[in-house]
């Protein structure tokens, strides 16, 4: 990452080769559109190029950092589509398979397993809410509408879920 920050294009290419399939999967998962995912993926690597100097290894792994950029960019794109983007139903509870290429991302796979383990300690409803929010950019208001539950209730489900998640991850 420090090579990318120094303006080394070959380093960005290496990073692209190692991570683009994972990030493209993230974009597709959120946007369900190949064209838009390609657009966003391009923005993601340009963002990494410009911001590599801000990467702080003490705070996050490289993969977590760039996956967050990809996820956030894709959510921005999803939101820019307007209200119809939120018409999808609440997620299924299952985790998707890690898929091909994941073997190369051993560290990420470990972290994913860990988070998956902690999520599975939450009740099904809270898991589904958290996953729906994360992959759908769905706000409290929209979640409450979909669940036909009071806003305050949905809020406290998620807050409690996040607190438990943190407690579990720190164990």
């Amino acid at each position: 990452m420090s090579r990318v920050a120094a303006g080394d294009r070959a380093a960005l290419r290496d990073l692209y080769d190692a991570t683009s399939a994972k990030l493209f999967g993230v974009c597709l998962r959120i946007l369900s559109s190949k064209e838009e995912s390609e657009d966003v993926l391009q923005e993601v690597y340009l963002t990494i190029w410009r911001r590599a100097d801000r990467f702080d290894a003490a705070r996050a792994g490289v993969l977590a950092w760039i996956a967050t950029i990809a996820r956030n960019r894709a959510i921005d794109r999803l939101r820019s589509r307007g209200p119809t983007a939120y018409a999808e139903p609440i997620e299924d509870y299952e985790f998707p398979d890690a898929g091909p290429g994941a073997e190369a991302l051993v560290e990420a796979a470990d972290e994913t397993r860990r988070l998956q383990g902690c999520l599975s300690e939450l009740d099904d409803r809270t898991q589904a809410l958290i996953r729906t929010a994360y992959f759908g950019g769905v706000t409290y208001e929209a979640l409450a509408l979909r669940m036909d539950a009071p806003l305050g209730t949905v809020k406290s489900w998620i807050r409690r879920g996040l607190a438990k998640l943190k407690g579990c991850l720190e164990r």
């Binding site: 920050a5 120094a6 303006g7 294009r9 692209y16 399939a21 994972k22 493209f24 999967g25 993230v26 597709l28 998962r29 390609e38 993926l41 391009q42 690597y45 340009l46 190029w49 410009r50 911001r51 100097d53 801000r54 702080d56 705070r59 996050a60 993969l63 977590a64 950092w65 996956a67 967050t68 950029i69 990809a70 996820r71 956030n72 959510i75 921005d76 939101r79 398979d97 890690a98 898929g99 091909p100 290429g101 991302l105 972290e111 994913t112 929010a133 994360y134 992959f135 706000t139 409290y140 979640l143 998620i158 807050r159 409690r160 996040l162 607190a163 438990k164 998640l165 943190k166 407690g167």
Partner: protein, 240 residues
């Protein structure tokens, strides 16, 4: 299963921002706090890192072969690592998942973070102008503002159709180099007005100072230190 520890309000807000469940107005507020409060920004980053494995658990799909060449073509031609120093000023401002309002507000904060341009005290002070446009790919001018250093006033003209959106007011903000938005008052659709400014605020106006208009409930933003509604238009002062 044991109960996890309760999150403090600030941490819960940070976690909610990282997860993406906040309303557009709250997202804007969270972005503003990230720009102003490094501890809060670190909290958001920590939550993003905690949740990132969710994204990493998604199945990989190789992108089309033609994508890398188009990324390479789009890289800036004059790669100057020194530019990265300037980018540091933008820390944390846009990496988040931003709604339009949040993006606009963050942009305002970022622009305001640029070092102030020193105006020569002896030179005749020029009027500074700004065209306030919508954000996005095709910006539309909605307001025109001019800072008159002699009268120490902001003259603003609304290009919004008179009578548009009577349920809301348009509140004018300036964001000087300290990055803190200051409310200047309301601008009625289709009207012009001259708004006197305090001496301190007037003297903080410079080329590059950001000016924005937010859409607020009647009476204006309940928070006097920041817009509560979406940013309708934004621009920067410049010499004509």
């Amino acid at each position: 299963m044991s109960e996890g520890p309760e999150l403090s309000d600030a941490e819960a807000f940070a976690a909610e921002h990282a997860l993406g469940v906040l309303s557009p107005a709250d997202r804007a507020e969270a972005e503003r706090r990230m720009a102003a409060d490094p501890a809060f920004a670190a909290e958001v980053e920590a939550w993003r890192a905690r949740l990132a494995p969710l994204a990493l658990g998604v199945a990989s799909v190789p992108p089309p072969a033609g994508l890398w060449p188009s990324i390479e073509r789009a890289l800036p031609a004059n790669d100057n690592p020194a530019d990265a120093r300037g980018l540091r000023l933008w820390r944390r401002a846009t990496i988040g998942s931003l709604g339009l309002a949040a993006a606009s507000l963050a942009a305002a904060v970022m622009l305001a973070n640029r070092p102030p341009v020193r105006v020569q005290p002896q030179a005749p002070a020029p009027v500074l102008n700004a065209s306030l446009t919508t954000q996005g790919d095709a910006p539309v001018p909605l307001f025109v503002a001019a800072y008159d250093p002699v009268r120490k006033a902001m003259i603003v003209t609304s290009l919004v159709k008179p009578g548009a959106d009577p349920a809301h007011v348009h509140e004018l903000w300036v964001i000087p180099a300290d990055g803190k938005p200051r409310a200047l008052g309301f601008v009625e659709p289709g009207k012009s007005k001259s708004i006197p400014m305090s001496r301190d605020l007037a003297e903080s106006m410079a080329v590059g100072s950001s000016i924005a208009v937010s859409v607020e409930p009647p009476g204006g933003s309940p928070n006097r230190n920041a817009p509560s509604g979406p940013i309708a238009a934004i621009g920067r002062l410049a010499k004509i």
